[in-house]
Amino acid sequence: MAVIAARRVPRDGSLTAVLLFLPPALLLFTLFVVLPIGEAAWYSGFNWNGFGSPTKWVGFDNYRAVLDSRAFGLAFRNNILIILVSLLVQLPLALTLALLLAEKFRGAVALRMLFFMPYVLAEIATGLIFSFVYDGDYGLLASIYRLFGAEAPHLLASPDTSMLAILIVIVWKYFGFHMMLFIAALQSLDRNLIEAARIDGAGRLQTLRYIVIPLLYPTIRLSVFFAVVGSLQLFDLVMPLTRGGPADSSNTMVSFLYNFGVTRMRVGFGSAVGVILFVICVTFAFTYKRWFMRDE
């Protein structure tokens, strides 16, 4: 190891640069990234309520308890569901709208802003707004049902529908962000390629299929990355809507961490959830980068 490291040290003046600039960066990284993660990993081995310093070492018991928990299973399932809906519903929707709105026509910019608006709104505000929309007595949904003379369901109050209601909000809130990414990519495309394809006799769909979409791949890969990591971390939409309920049907892994770790003052248990989540995120990030984003 030492030999390899020595061989990598640059011989010219840039050694000074490394010695000068690396320590501060390394210090910050250690302080704000490595230490907290290490701390969480350390706490996850204790049965600890957050007071004083942890003393009751329980080894891997917290991890066992997390993995045995029915509620964590549901939360994990919900995260997978969110990822699937993001990839299979949200991104195609965003791409379709981007293709329509990247063209220059009257009102295109206004429409783009309109679709982008939900993304600008704070998550907590979005959650509150939709908890009113979904309210089966006074909400917008209730008025719509009443128009047809029916009684509205309380979507957020039933374990069967709570997650569906949240998924709808997620798609509504984030598709605009991906749409904007796609529009930006579309506008920087080389128009000559498209024109050349047209001259060669390719139809609209063919151009799309063989020229435009392949040129968008880098952006699509980035979008997928954002969508998956964002889905794994989802928390602030869930809290105002359902707080993970009823009967833990709409917890995500992060809201599970909050509900079962923080509010119950089980710091060790919560840390174990945090570490599991961290491992999942990091594994995904590295594998994805290795397999799909090698060139970028």
Partner: protein, 419 residues
Amino acid sequence: MGKLATWALAATGLALTAGAALADTTVKWMHIEINPAQIKIWEETARAFEAKNPGVKVEMQFLENESFKAKLPTLLQSKDRPHIIYSWAGGVLKTQIEAGVIDDITDRVQGYSEQITPAALAAFTYNGRVYGLPIAMSQVGFLYNRDLMGKAGVDASGIKTWDDLLGAVKKIKAAGIVPIVVGGADKWPLHFYWTHLAVRLGGKAGFEAALKGENGGFQSETYLKAGELFKQLVDLQPFQNGFLGFKNPQAVGYFGDGKAAMTLAISTAYHAQRALAADKAGLGEDKIGWFDFPTVPGQKGEPSDTLGGITGWLVTKGAPKEATDFLKFFISKDVQTRLAAGNFIIPIVAGADAGLNNAFMRQIADNLAKSKYHQNFYDQSLGPSVGRVVNDVSAEIAGGTMSPADAAKAVQEAWKQGN
């Protein structure tokens, strides 16, 4: 040499001003109250204390209920912790005392503590030492809407037993009225059913036996039966549509809007329903009534036993002695009488109940005075990790996703794990 003298002078000057600043003590006080009318009285009390004690400042800090609970462990261990904090006593207080972050104020409140209701003070006493002062008590029971009960042909004063209640629910439902409104999303309003049934069934002895793990602890007959009786009620579908999505303030408002015949609530909801109703007026005093939680067949508890809260204030470790002085001033007969007159609290200082000026509050005060066993809310009493499980399982029984036996088992397992 001249320079050194200047430095020395400057240093002395600094030391002097620092000394002067130290003479000004600031008592920092953290609360969760959201009722502006009550906070107004608190502010006035703080200003009155400052006027009487020159050099002392009282500073109020506010945190929302859930954030307060979440932040407390970290806050208490920081050097900058508030001097006085809100508390529901129970398991959380016990943990805080064991962690050594709460001040023992036994000696400082001697000669003063005698005027406080013993049951209330006992909640803040641990191993014979006093760690805080109570400020108010409350009782859980049924509030009802007189008009709706009349419409359904139910005589609320006749509801004495659990079967009476079930009968009333059937009758009200048949009349096309929502029998009971509950804020199921918050879960704790549902835990009142399970735990009050347990208070009736097991009495004081039942709860203490469960804590010791006798007869299966929380899986004992008492708790199994409590779940089963609760299930009897749930099976009648007594709650409003979508009750698992309702937060408590929403539910209390719904009751204030006159949309449900009953609600099992903390006595403070009697007044809260007005502010939370859509028209901000709610149900007038002639329209609202109260009956105590019904008795159940074969119960071991006394009918006068009560479930409710005991809330108060703790002094944290390292707080200036003025903090305790302020607390004694704050929980004095005068201030308590004022708060009672505003119908904000059932006072705990002797004689302050003279301030209570309506029949309802007086009735609750009498109930609490008569009660020999006042059970603190389970979710407070058992501490956060077990208490939340009690709330969870109550909500699951109500939602039909868990059987009473599984519920009792879940609570017992949580209890075993934490103790």
